[in-house]
């Protein structure tokens, strides 16, 4: 029983015929070709597959593609403005918050939702917001620093 779905992904409209058991994660990676979104644990714990749906974070590994029909999805590929990296992406590079990089897409999408809701978070608030995103390389210190630095830069850009 295939379903027809239409949705926005990173501002572009996509339509497709999919099986009901197609996960949003697999739809993004295999149907649309956006492989930035990663599958880590596959059971909603590690956060690598996190994407934004209509302004709310979701686990794409525990979301059916049919459930996002008509909605607007933002993945890591939608963060940069052309060649210009998003401040979060740039600060992750500058602070060495990326080692193997597998967790970075989920972390950056998650941090972006935090900063949209709270442009001036404390370190504790950043840690709480990222508690569902596991990084097995960095020990988190540089990731937290990068998010705080990006928040600071985004605040000063907003005031210009």
């Amino acid at each position: 029983m295939r379903s027809h779905i239409a949705l926005q992904i990173n501002g572009r409209r996509h339509t497709s015929e999919i099986e009901p058991n197609t996960l949003l994660l697999d739809f993004l990676r295999w149907e649309v070709g956006l492989t930035g979104t990663k599958e880590g644990c596959g059971e909603g714990v590690c956060g690598s597959c996190t994407v934004d749906v209509d302004g709310e974070l979701v686990r794409s590994c525990l979301t059916l593609a049919v459930q996002v029909a008509g909605k607007s999805v933002t993945t890591i590929e939608g963060m940069a403005n052309g060649e210009k990296l998003h401040p979060l992406q740039r600060k992750f590079l500058e602070h060495g918050a990326v080692q193997c990089g597998f967790c970075s897409p989920g972390l950056i999408v998650t941090a972006n939702a935090l900063l949209a809701a709270n442009p001036n978070p404390s370190e504790a608030e950043v840690r709480d917001a990222l508690r569902g995103n596991f990084c097995r390389c960095t020990g988190y210190v540089k990731i937290i620093e990068a998010v705080l630095a990006a928040a600071s830069e985004m605040r000063s850009n907003a005031h210009e």
């Binding site: 058991n21 697999d26 909603g44 996190t50 709310e56 974070l57 686990r59 939702a113 508690r131 569902g132």
Partner: protein
């Protein structure tokens, strides 16, 4: 990790949902957020032929206060409940229980109703709602019935819901008077853990004397439970460290926690004493 094959239906009304469940009572499964069901389907613990997704039914996503009751609709997400001002100010126990579930990305999709319908003993909302004497409005093909949450959990991953029924609404009575409440959970690490044990406590106090005590536990028995004998031990006493420790030991005696790969039953029992003590202390410090 791929999902097994299934048919998917997103009904537009409760009647349509119940009819779909009745068409395949043994092989259909209801989902709201799907955060528990899809996960266990990946492990092939469950392989329903039909998933009935209630998220698209209009009019079920609400957290509404009335003079005597707080009402939470079937598709209200855990995030919706956390955003409710009345939950934060009047039901801190519920707020604390929900804010420790997983993380924002999961809570944005997961519902409170879905969580309790899984019937897991270590469910934070289940223990919190048990402490708050919540009432569930259950709908089936033959009509509606009202189930006190104390009669909802019947065994390991089992509730009193029939295969063709759904929980339409949770009603939480609003409380008056001098009271304090708290919810504390023990997880191996801070993030993304189901608690080993958790305790919710509510204390009512008048003129320094306890007039009402509630203690609910998660992870301490086959289902979430209340520990009546520990509650009774507090009523009529002055709440101090002696009475709190007494109630904590009774709670530890009266529960029957399971042993699994995460902890032994004996360890969980010791945790019950610690978490009941701390939840009671916190609740007592918040009495106003």
């Amino acid at each position: 990790m791929a999902l097994p094959v299934f048919d998917y239906l997103a009904p537009k009304s409760i009647e349509e949902a119940c009819a779909a469940l009745q068409s395949k009572p043994d092989t259909s499964k209801l989902i709201a957020g799907g955060q528990s069901v899809l996960r266990v389907m990946k492990f092939r613990i469950m392989a329903p032929e039909l998933l009935v997704d209630v998220k698209a039914i209009p009019g079920l996503r609400y957290v509404e206060e009335e003079p005597d009751v707080l009402r939470i609709g079937a598709t209200a997400t855990q995030t919706d409940v956390l955003r409710s001002e009345i939950v934060r100010t009047e039901f801190p126990l519920l707020f604390e229980a929900i804010s420790r579930i997983a993380t924002t990305a999961v809570r944005n999709t997961a519902t409170i109703v879905g969580n309790i319908c899984v019937g897991h003993t270590a469910s934070d909302p289940s223990a919190a709602l048990l402490a708050l004497d919540a009432i569930l409005v259950v709908v089936g093909t033959t009509g509606e019935r009202v189930v006190p949450i104390s009669e909802f959990f019947v065994g390991h991953m089992t509730t009193s819901l029939d295969a063709t029924e759904l929980v339409r609404e949770i009603r939480i009575p609003r409380r008056k008077g001098n009271l304090g409440m708290a919810y504390l959970a023990h997880a191996g690490r801070a993030a993304m853990e189901t608690p080993l044990v958790a305790a919710g406590a509510i204390l009512s106090v008048r003129d320094g004397v306890c007039t009402g005590a509630t203690i609910a536990l998660a992870g301490a028995d086959e289902t979430p439970i209340r520990v009546g004998r520990a509650e009774e031990a507090l009523v009529g006493t002055r709440i101090d460290d002696r009475t709190i420790l007494q109630a904590s030991s009774i709670a530890a005696e009266d529960c029957s926690p399971d042993t699994d790969v995460y902890a032994s039953g004996e360890y969980r029992r010791r945790l019950v004493a610690v978490y009941v003590r701390d939840a009671l202390r916190t609740a007592a410090s918040r009495v106003q």
